[in-house]
């Protein structure tokens, strides 16, 4: 910092007062700065800051932390995303122009108090939305994508080996329409009737990096995949041992 012309013997209180006054003047000059690059800086800066306040508050609230202040910081951020750019790209330049050109008393009054009016409207909206949030702010939409995904299909698959054949069974079959076994590019087996037990020969399986692998897919009535289980033959127990299970 370079020295400036302040009295070096000023009391701490005076120094603090001066620093605050200078900071206020700096803030005002930044607020009213009106070159294109300043307008862009302030607009984008406030957009990002608004987004940060909104998302961070939403995030903390989503963890079930119920601090009232967060509802207002969330509203402040949400409104700022739009109002920051609106203020610095439109209203401040307009107010500055009107102060130079306005000739009717009403317009002059608006020009003189334009920023106060703007900030008052902004804060009023923040208070209202903080108290009575609207659904877009809460990301509380009834999504058009809401799919009726139905029941949770997650049965255990148990496979065993015997005499060069592999047999697999499912612990539950609800919601399943067919079971398909593939290895590499080729389909090895397909079963379309409950209980969907499937048996196939080890020799039909393709070998990848020295391992014979197969994939068991559970599909619904539209032939859409519900679950996939990838197994290597070496991990499938012999029929005389305990069957393996789990996804």
């Amino acid at each position: 910092m370079t020295p400036h012309s302040d009295d070096a013997t000023a009391s701490p209180l005076e120094s603090v007062t001066r620093a605050i006054a200078r900071a206020w003047r700096d803030l005002l000059s930044v607020y009213y700065a009106n070159t294109p690059i300043w307008r862009l800086f302030k607009s984008v800066g406030l957009l990002f800051f608004g987004f940060f306040c909104w998302t961070a508050s939403s995030l903390v609230l989503s963890y079930g932390i119920e601090w009232t202040i967060l509802e207002y910081t969330r509203a402040y951020g949400f409104v700022l995303i739009l109002w920051g750019p609106l203020t610095h790209a439109v209203i401040v330049p307009l107010v500055i122009r009107l102060r130079r050109t306005a000739d009717r008393p009403l317009v002059r009054a608006i020009a003189r108090n334009g920023s106060k009016i703007n900030l008052s409207i902004f804060l009023a909206i923040v208070l209202i939305l903080g108290t009575a949030p609207v659904s877009p702010m809460l990301l509380d939409f009834q999504s058009p994508l809401q799919s009726d995904s139905g029941s949770d299909v997650n049965p255990d698959l148990s496979c065993t080996r015997a005499d060069g054949e592999i047999s697999c069974t499912l612990s539950e079959t609800e919601g399943i329409d067919s079971v398909v076994v593939t290895s590499g590019e080729s389909q090895i087996a397909r079963v379309e009737d409950p209980p969907y037990d499937v048996t196939f020969r080890e020799d039909d399986l393709e070998s990848v990096v020295g391992q014979k692998e197969f994939v068991v897919e559970l599909r619904d009535e539209d032939d859409e995949t519900l679950r996939r289980y990838r197994r290597s033959v070496s991990s499938v127990p012999n029929a005389s041992l305990e069957p393996s299970s789990g996804a």
């Binding site: 700096d26 984008v44 963890y63 939409f141 999504s143 290895s183």
Partner: protein, 581 residues
């Protein structure tokens, strides 16, 4: 005399009899060999950018599930092509060009062993084509590799072969740079390297570390895939792989910072406020930054907690400290340099009076700001053992590295391409206005897309690398459909960002093909820093005599964002398990 292959006259400049020319913008003595090889690698990088950008479209339009462009199987293939072309080929070709700029060009030397440089380019290009071919022709039982290609996932042997060839090509292409450094130090043993050359040298050392790690990872894996060896240790592969997997991103980071120093000096009149401090920061990178790669193993078995904490906390803070030094030093250099040129005024007058319509300048500044706020803060935070738990493998991770390698590195490299078009290819932009707008448009759109990625990842735990989560998690009642509005915003801004990328390619390629030729130095006068670069050499007017309070305020804002984000994430982590309750 143009070469017979030079059909567009792109490799044709006016040189003196000794093969050198004096650059009217930088004042550097540039040799024909440097010009031509920087152009060759830079152009190739732009081709990779264009190709990878096509897959940015298909990948983004798949993740935006309202569009749902690709099936799950195709999605992995496209995602792999997107990653390899943009994260590896666009950047590494560009980085070799940066080595040639930071080495022989800044030092005013010719590029030695030009045949080796050309051979390196050929081998790199062959490797890149091979990797692309292998991924594009993926079929069962092979899987698309994504970026990681974890063992024991079966992947086409051609992919590993391509990756190895590309790595070897990169090492070969870097050899002329090392030779330049060797000659320079032999001729001037007592002279310090210029800062940009020093930064390029540090980049090259980190690069060689990373590339050797890549060979150690990929060569045995190729042998395993060809079934010449029976078994390969998955944990060992992961640890070796990440030496290159994240090491390449550290090369991007250091090369990007070298570009920041170079371009802010040339087009904005920035000066180095403290050579010692900036060089120390690069040395910290050298020792610590590659250890940061350990954060990829934070949720994996096989490495001890002590190893994780050491690498991702204590060691990595060495690199973080270096980044924070650059975060102050570069804007401070701009501020002091511009105040020295009488372009200050008030707290931020040095910044607002800067040449914002010059895309070289605006790209560089956006890269600095967005890398710091979006990529840097999240990287340091999520690269930590504990906080990683809430970010690991979510879409927020994808947001983080798009903050670093897209908003940071890619935007900075775009600025460098704009610079090279004017000062090496000697072409005017095909449209000044479009060139001026592009960095603003691209950075803003990509910035919002990145924020959305982070937000859906953190708020909803949306996983990465997945084609369908919002619309359909097969066979489950678990629904993430609440995230769909944010995905809509992500999708729209991803499209805008891709449009910004297309605009860059159009302006760059259009300028090369149709742009007016820069006939003399006066045509490039608008690129020169206010008052020229000679002012930096005045010993009676030291840079540290000028104020840097604007930078100080900006750094306080950055620090506040850092601290709040950090505390917030820690607080949320404590809420997960109600510690002490």
């Amino acid at each position: 005399m143009a070469h017979k292959l030079d059909v567009l006259g792109l490799f044709d400049n006016e040189y003196r009899d000794d093969g050198f020319r004096t650059c009217s913008v930088t004042g550097l003595e540039v040799h024909r060999s440097v010009d031509n090889h920087v152009k060759l690698f830079g152009l190739t990088a732009v081709v990779a950018l264009l190709y990878g950008g096509i897959f940015a479209f298909t990948v983004a339009m798949t993740r935006w599930e309202v569009i749902g462009l690709l099936d799950a199987a195709d999605f992995y293939t496209h995602l792999s092509l997107h990653a390899w072309n943009l994260l590896i080929f666009w950047m590494v070709f560009m980085e070799i060009a940066i080595l040639y700029v930071g080495g022989p060009m800044v030092l005013g030397r010719r590029l030695p062993f030009t045949k080796v440089a050309k051979a390196g380019w050929l081998v790199m290009a062959a490797g890149a084509v091979l990797v692309n071919y292998a991924i594009w022709t993926t079929e069962a039982p092979n899987e698309a590799p994504l970026l990681t290609a974890y063992v024991p996932m079966p992947i086409s042997p051609l992919f590993y072969a391509g990756a190895i060839v590309f790595i070897l090509g990169t090492v070969v292409a870097a050899l002329p740079f090392f030779a330049t450094m060797w000659y320079e130090k032999r001729e001037h043993p007592d002279k310090t390297l210029p800062l940009v050359s020093f930064a390029a040298f540090v980049t090259s050392i980190i690069a060689v570390e990373a590339l050797v790690g890549g060979l150690v990872a990929f060569v045995p894996t190729l042998l395993w895939r060809l079934e010449m060896i029976q078994w390969w240790d998955a944990a060992w592969y992961r640890q070796m792989y990440w030496i290159i997997g994240h090491g390449t991103q550290q090369i991007n980071l250091v090369a990007m910072i070298a570009v920041w120093y170079f371009l802010t000096h040339v087009v904005a009149g920035a000066e180095v406020v403290s050579e010692k401090v900036s060089r120390t920061a690069f040395i910290l990178y050298l020792f610590f930054i590659n250890l940061g790669a350990a954060h990829h193993l934070l949720s994996d078995p096989a490495v001890s907690t002590g190893w994780r904490i050491w690498n991702t906390s204590y060691a990595f803070y060495g690199a973080t400290f270096a980044s924070l030094i650059h975060a102050f030093a570069i804007p401070a250099g701009i501020e002091a340099g511009r105040r020295k040129r009488g372009k200050g005024g008030g707290l931020f007058g040095w910044l607002t009076s800067a040449p914002w319509s010059n895309p070289v300048f605006s790209s560089t500044i956006f890269s600095i700001i967005l890398f710091g706020f979006l990529g840097g803060i999240t990287g340091v935070m999520m690269g930590q053992l504990q906080l990683n738990m809430t970010w690991h493998n979510t879409f927020a991770t994808v947001g983080h590295f798009h903050g670093t390698v897209v908003l940071g590195t890619t935007v900075a490299f775009m600025g460098l391409v704009f610079f090279v078009i004017r000062t090496m290819f000697m072409r005017q932009y095909i449209s000044e206005r479009l060139a001026s707008i592009q960095p603003f448009f691209y950075s803003a759109a990509m910035g919002v897309a990145v924020l959305m990625m982070m937000y859906v990842g953190i708020l909803y735990g949306i996983p990465r690398r997945t084609a369908e989560v919002v619309e359909n998690i097969p066979g489950t009642e678990f629904s993430l459909s609440a995230a769909s509005p944010l995905f809509a915003i992500f999708g729209i801004f991803a499209l805008l960002a891709i449009a910004g990328g297309v605009l860059f390619v159009l302006v760059a390629v259009g300028s090369l093909v149709f742009g007016d030729r820069v006939e003399n130095g006066a045509d490039n006068a608008d690129l020169v820093a206010d008052g020229g670069l000679g002012m930096a050499q005045d010993p009676d007017d030291p840079v540290h005599a000028y104020e840097m309070r604007g930078t100080f305020v900006l750094c306080l804002v950055f620090l506040a964002a850092f601290v709040i984000t950090y505390l917030l994430n820690w607080y949320l982590l404590t809420q997960l398990w109600s510690i002490g309750a």
